[in-house]
């Protein structure tokens, strides 16, 4: 067993195991550090930057930073909260996220974060990009309007040989997460549901199944995202 080490988050004395990722170590201590591209069981990528904290005064992503003895971490400062809110706002304006008609509403991590960070109108102009809906696969629909390019599906949804059902296409602002046509043709209903569940937004949706969970029973209907960690 790894050695227990001591560290501080926002002045609170914390304990965890040496080398554990900071997001998980904080969670053990009842502290929520928001994440979006991170997903339990997948190797962290640190791409969305929403988990940015200050470790000993320097910015770092908490999902990729191992915790060490004596670290002093800032998490809930006004500066960091505003930076995180800006990232959320940028994600909203760079896609077409119309929560009122999205079936992921209530289960969407991006929406839940926007509520947590009290996003009202974004400070950035909406891009309103012209995005496609790929409805050509038998089990799922990939709505590019809502994709935030977090790569969770690429990293997490694989067949028995380890081939991913999803892949990046293009670069920069034209980047897309696309579906492997051949693999998707054989996709099981179970795998399709896993893909929908791993997607933090409503970009991957299982065909012909929307809104079967009533309002009130959805993931974030009763408590804000992160409160399960904080109230633990």
């Amino acid at each position: 067993m790894s050695e227990k080490i001591n560290f501080i988050i926002d002045g609170k004395e914390c304990q965890s195991e040496e080398g554990k990722y900071l997001v998980d170590a904080a969670k053990e201590n009842g502290i929520y550090i928001p994440t979006l591209c991170n997903y339990e069981g997948l190797k962290p990528k640190g791409s969305c930057r929403i988990c940015t904290v200050k470790i000993n005064g320097r910015f770092a992503t908490a999902c990729t930073s191992p915790v060490h003895d004596g670290m002093n971490i800032e998490n809930e400062t006004e500066e960091l909260k505003d930076m995180r809110k800006q990232i959320i706002e940028l994600l909203f304006v760079s896609g077409n996220h119309f929560c009122p008609a999205c079936e992921k509403s209530g289960n969407c991590e991006l929406q839940a974060l926007a509520y947590r960070f009290k996003m009202m109108a974004p400070r950035f102009p909406f891009a309103f990009p012209n995005k496609e809906i790929d409805a050509s696969h038998p089990k799922i629909i990939k709505d590019q309007n809502r994709c935030i390019l977090c790569k969770r599906c690429i990293r997490g949804i694989k067949d028995e040989e380890g081939k991913s059902y999803f892949a990046y296409q293009n670069r920069g602002k034209d980047s897309l997460v696309v579906v492997d046509r051949k693999l998707a043709a054989e996709m099981t209903a179970e795998k399709a549901q896993q893909a929908m569940d791993i997607c933090p937004v409503g970009s991957i949706i299982v065909r012909e199944k929307g809104w079967d969970t009533p309002i009130g029973d959805r993931k974030y209907d009763k408590a804000p995202i992160g409160s399960d960690i904080e109230n633990n």
Partner: protein
């Protein structure tokens, strides 16, 4: 010198519209028009979206009666997913949707009568505009105002319990419903603390009908002659001719009561109904094909429903229906202001239907969804508070919407509203040298009778600025007033 009067925007209706009235050199009204000046584009931008999004997406057309759009879309999609033509749902799904719908009719009619229309009756068309509103009603007739507020609240709570939210819920899904009513919720509606229980709602609904009948007795001239003109009437009726606000066959009668559309299956509505586009309004003019653009227009809504139905299948409302019908000797009622009377009888019917459904064990248990062989086209109709609502969708082989046609209730009432405006303008404005606020309100009252949802959108109700501009024959502004 000819003049043109513009009333913009029209107040105490849902959405934005304006009225123009043209006067000739002698000050006689030559032409009046109700213009709908908003453009929404829903039929176009839903194309490409997955079909199961429709009930949740298109209900955003409206913040007052979203349930109507929610359910009409769901009914159309029931057909697409092979759940029958309105008769294939599980008993639980059918009854939960009906409960949601009657809650919706109850709250929307209450909103219209107590908040929007009653001030004109209590204070008079020419009453002081400062108090001729719901606040004035609260100050002078608190009991009536409180009843209106609480009745609306009760309807909204029913919607919330069946759809998940008071506005823009998600209860209806293609082929069914996504929840039961809990026993706690049911018991609360049935036996909740006074006044929030269904028996009180029925009492208050009956009292509202009685209030109107009393008012009518003392104001016969106003109620009977105001915007009274012959019209065809169209609505859904149950197969046996009963009033049914959720499902049925399409029936139309002419102003004398002769059936001109014989209980047809609404899946074939395009065989019977067409829409005309006129250059001066974004709202189309529907008409019965067989009778043409000139004679085929019709009225929908409470007045039309009481004219087409043979009876109302709930005892108290049926009793009122008989009194109402006796007033015109069993003939169709063409008096626009009787729309309020008809609306109140429907409030009573909705309350009775809610009680019946709340006592039905199917709403707290049973299968929620049914599906069958998918097809690529579906049509869903129901009787929204303001009248017959049409939703028609086609999907492509990838489950995406390829065509949508929505004929909303207010669109169906386009021609009757224009006729009402014209008649009232002629009565109140012809030969007048000055256009006064009561005269402008008189025109609005005729529109309000139809409870139009001009944008069928989410708009705050309330006092909006009313502008009147007078133009001469050369379209030059010669006078302007604003309140």
């Amino acid at each position: 010198m000819g003049r043109k009067i513009t009333i913009e925007p029209v107040t105490r209706v849902e959405g934005h519209g304006k009225v123009t009235i043209h006067l000739d050199d002698q000050g006689n009204v030559t032409q009046s028009r109700l213009h709908i000046v908003e453009f929404r584009g829903f039929e176009r931008f839903v194309q490409g979206r997955p079909y199961w999004e429709m009930p949740v997406l298109v209900q955003r057309l409206c913040g007052i009666c979203p349930v109507s759009h929610h359910l009409a879309a769901a009914k159309a999609l029931d057909v697409i997913v092979g759940a029958g033509m309105g008769d294939g749902l599980t008993p639980t799904a059918e009854k939960m949707r009906r409960l949601m719908h009657y809650g919706q009719i109850f709250q929307s009619h209450s909103l219209h009568f107590f908040h929007l229309a009653a001030p004109d009756m209590v204070f008079g068309i020419d009453g002081d505009p400062a108090i001729r509103n719901v606040i004035g009603l609260v100050l002078t007739n608190k009991e009536l105002a409180v009843q209106g507020v609480m009745m609306r609240k009760f309807g909204q709570e029913i919607i919330s319990a069946t759809a998940g939210k008071k506005i823009h819920g998600t209860g209806a899904i293609p082929g069914g419903i996504n929840k039961h009513l809990s026993e706690t919720e049911r018991d609360e509606f049935l036996k909740g603390a006074d006044p929030m229980n269904i028996d009180k709602m029925i009492d208050w609904s009956q009292a509202a009908v009685d209030w109107f009948k009393d008012y009518h007795k003392n104001n016969k001239d106003f109620i009977d002659t105001y915007a009274d003109f012959p019209s065809n009437h169209l609505s859904l009726v149950r197969k046996d001719g009963a009033m049914d606000l959720y499902h049925g066959v399409l029936r139309a009668v002419d102003s004398e009561g002769k059936k001109i559309l014989h209980d047809v299956d609404y899946q074939n509505y395009l065989d019977y109904i067409d829409e005309e586009v006129r250059s001066w309004s974004y709202m189309k003019f529907p008409y019965l094909k067989e009778y043409g653009k000139q004679n085929g227009w019709y009225t929908v809504g409470p007045l039309a429903r009481l004219n087409t139905a043979d009876f109302i299948p709930s005892p108290l409302a049926q009793k009122e229906f008989e009194i109402y019908k006796a007033y015109t000797g069993g003939k169709p009622n063409n008096m626009s202001m009787h729309m309020h009377w008809a609306r109140l009888i429907e409030i009573l019917h909705s309350a009775e239907m809610m009680k019946e459904l709340l006592n039905d064990p199917d709403i707290v248990s049973g299968e929620l969804v049914t599906k069958g062989q998918k097809v690529n086209e579906g049509i869903g109709l129901l009787e929204a508070p303001r009248g017959t609502l049409f939703h028609h969708y086609e999907i492509n082989g990838k489950d995406q919407i390829s065509m949508a046609n929505l004929i909303v209730s207010t669109t169906n009432n386009n021609q009757p509203m224009n006729n009402a405006v014209n008649q009232v303008a002629k009565t109140w404005m012809s030969g007048q040298t000055e256009i006064t606020e009561p005269m402008m309100n008189a025109v609005e009252v005729s529109i309000r009778a139809y409870d139009p949802c001009l944008s069928c959108a989410t708009h705050a109700f309330g006092q909006m600025p009313l502008e009147v501009s007078l133009y001469n024959a050369n379209n030059e502004l010669i006078d302007y007033k604003r309140k």
